[in-house]
């Protein structure tokens, strides 16, 4: 019986993280972006510095009518937001938060192959945007969908290669194992891999500066053009959940997860702090860099990231064998 309670408790916890942290990241994006652009961001909703802005947005989205265009491929169009959102929840199941006051590791389920599980789940998530682009029956969505597909094919490879480099250095594919094997000098030897992983992750999530598929100045909103109401809100939530998964994965793989003072007790707090710091970088990148042109997006992947990732793997091999 305690087993069942344990499983239910872990699932509820993962669900709670999935419901809360993306909203926190969203609010951080509102405020951080505003201050970087010399404005204050939302201030009214909820009173203190507009903390309830996203809840207010949610209420607004619920009230809107969900429209399916006549030209749309109905089932594909309506399924797309769920396909975009659900995999990130699945991915969170296998990402460890670290030791919790000496009570063992805070994680949904410690998988022997956690790294591949999370990468596989992330690769399914991006199908949602592709389905939106194909199913909307709109030429802007369609062009956006093509850009999504091209971008995905280019960035999947460097991302997996960079992750494989860390797995080789740690000698395991378990996320808990990788974080436990982490040593501070990885910050130097795995630095190229870290950069490749982070940049490829940004591109996989279609976050600026890699938002050529959405490109609101040329494609209206790309694959999301025809979406409104709750379905659009689900895509938005999927974007923030994606940032959360990418940040958590970067933290666990490259930044040592819960490594820090008193990590036996407050390790989970260290993980959260690092995840939020990486999420802040994701937001910063949006404000700091202009959007890459479509050909630049692809040449960056094939001419820079893939060679760097291969060099990183060679370096890791030499270090592991030597």
């Amino acid at each position: 019986m305690p087993d069942v309670v344990d499983v239910v408790l872990r699932c509820v916890l993962v669900l709670a993280v999935f419901m809360v942290l993306p909203l926190v990241i969203g609010q951080m994006e509102h405020k951080a972006m505003a201050h970087m652009q010399s404005r204050v961001g939302p201030m009214a909703a909820g009173g203190f510095h507009g903390w309830a802005q996203l809840l207010a947005d949610g209420v607004k989205f619920v009230q809107k009518e969900s429209i399916t265009p006549v030209a749309a491929d109905r089932r594909v169009f309506e399924l797309a937001p769920a396909v975009a959102l659900a995999p990130y929840l699945v991915a969170l199941l296998a990402i460890p938060l670290g030791p919790f006051f000496g009570q063992g590791n805070l994680i949904g389920q410690d998988l022997d192959l956690g790294l591949f599980f999370v990468l596989a789940a992330m690769s399914v998530g991006v199908l949602g945007t592709l389905m939106g682009g194909l199913g909307s029956g709109n030429k802007y969505s369609y062009i956006g969908g093509m850009r999504v597909a091209a971008q995905l094919m280019s960035y999947e490879l460097p991302m997996v290669l960079a992750a494989a480099s860390v797995a080789m250095a740690a000698g395991t594919l378990s996320l808990v194992g990788i974080a436990q094997q982490w040593e501070p000098w990885w910050l130097i030897t795995q630095l190229p891999g870290l950069i490749v992983f982070f940049v490829a992750g940004l591109a996989e999530l279609q976050r600026p500066p890699f938002d050529a598929p959405l490109a609101d100045a040329e494609l209206v909103m790309g694959p999301l053009t025809e979406y409104g109401g709750m379905r659009f809100a689900m895509f938005l939530l999927a974007e923030y959940a994606g940032i959360l998964v990418l940040s958590a994965l970067t933290t666990v793989l490259f930044l040592g997860g819960w490594a820090g003072p008193f990590s036996d007790h407050i390790g989970w707090l260290w993980t959260l702090v690092k995840v939020m710091a990486v999420a802040f970088l994701v937001i910063w990148a949006r404000v700091a860099y202009p959007r890459l042109r479509e050909d630049q997006v692809n040449s960056l992947a094939w001419k820079v990231l893939v060679p760097v990732a291969l060099a990183q793997i060679t370096l890791t091999t030499v270090l592991v064998v030597a």
């Binding site: 594909v76 596989a120 690769s123 389905m131 199913g135 030429k139 369609y142 969908g145 093509m146 995905l152």
Partner: protein
């Protein structure tokens, strides 16, 4: 019949059903998306047979890359309004060939692994797969990678032969 076997049968039925839908639907995009369901169901079967590594790599490579590649090729070669399957006379030939291949492969697998049980020992972990690949089967593995490299070079040569570069 244990719970695992029931779930396995469900996944298998899902895989076969969605594969049939992928072959019979008139819209190519739907075919590609049903293929995603098929591949996912097969990955589920792999998990139940303790071959987790194969399952996740299947999702990562086939759903994440191959299906995306298929959809990309569809989008590049067709007009948006006419993405529908052309039914040619080859359909029946393909069906017969597919059936022959399925029967042949099925017979091979059944004659090779008939009556074997996988209870008790985990055969599909990363460690056991790595041991098998790089200790027992290292020569076939390396030859296979050489074949793939040759195919890659060949594809580049063919795709560039028409241009004056």
């Amino acid at each position: 019949m244990s719970a695992t076997e029931i779930v396995f049968l469900l996944f298998a039925a899902l895989a076969v059903g969605s594969a049939l839908l992928a072959m019979t639907t008139n819209q190519l995009v739907h075919s590609a998306l049903w293929l995603v369901v098929t591949l996912g169901a097969v990955a589920g079967c792999f998990v139940l047979m303790t071959a987790e590594f194969v399952a996740w790599v299947q999702v990562l490579v086939y759903v994440g890359s191959v299906v995306v590649l298929v959809i990309f090729a569809l989008m590049l070669t067709r007009q948006q309004s006419t993405i529908s399957a052309e039914v040619t006379g080859n359909r029946w030939t393909a069906a017969v060939l597919g059936l022959v291949a399925a029967v042949g492969l099925g017979a091979t697998v059944i004659s090779g692994f008939h009556g074997e049980r996988i209870e008790g020992h985990r055969i599909g972990t990363a460690r056991s797969l790595g041991d098998a690949l790089f200790n027992d089967w290292v020569l076939p593995f390396e030859i296979l990678s050489g074949v793939l490299l040759a195919a890659l070079v060949g594809a580049i040569v063919i795709s560039r032969s028409g241009t004056e570069r």
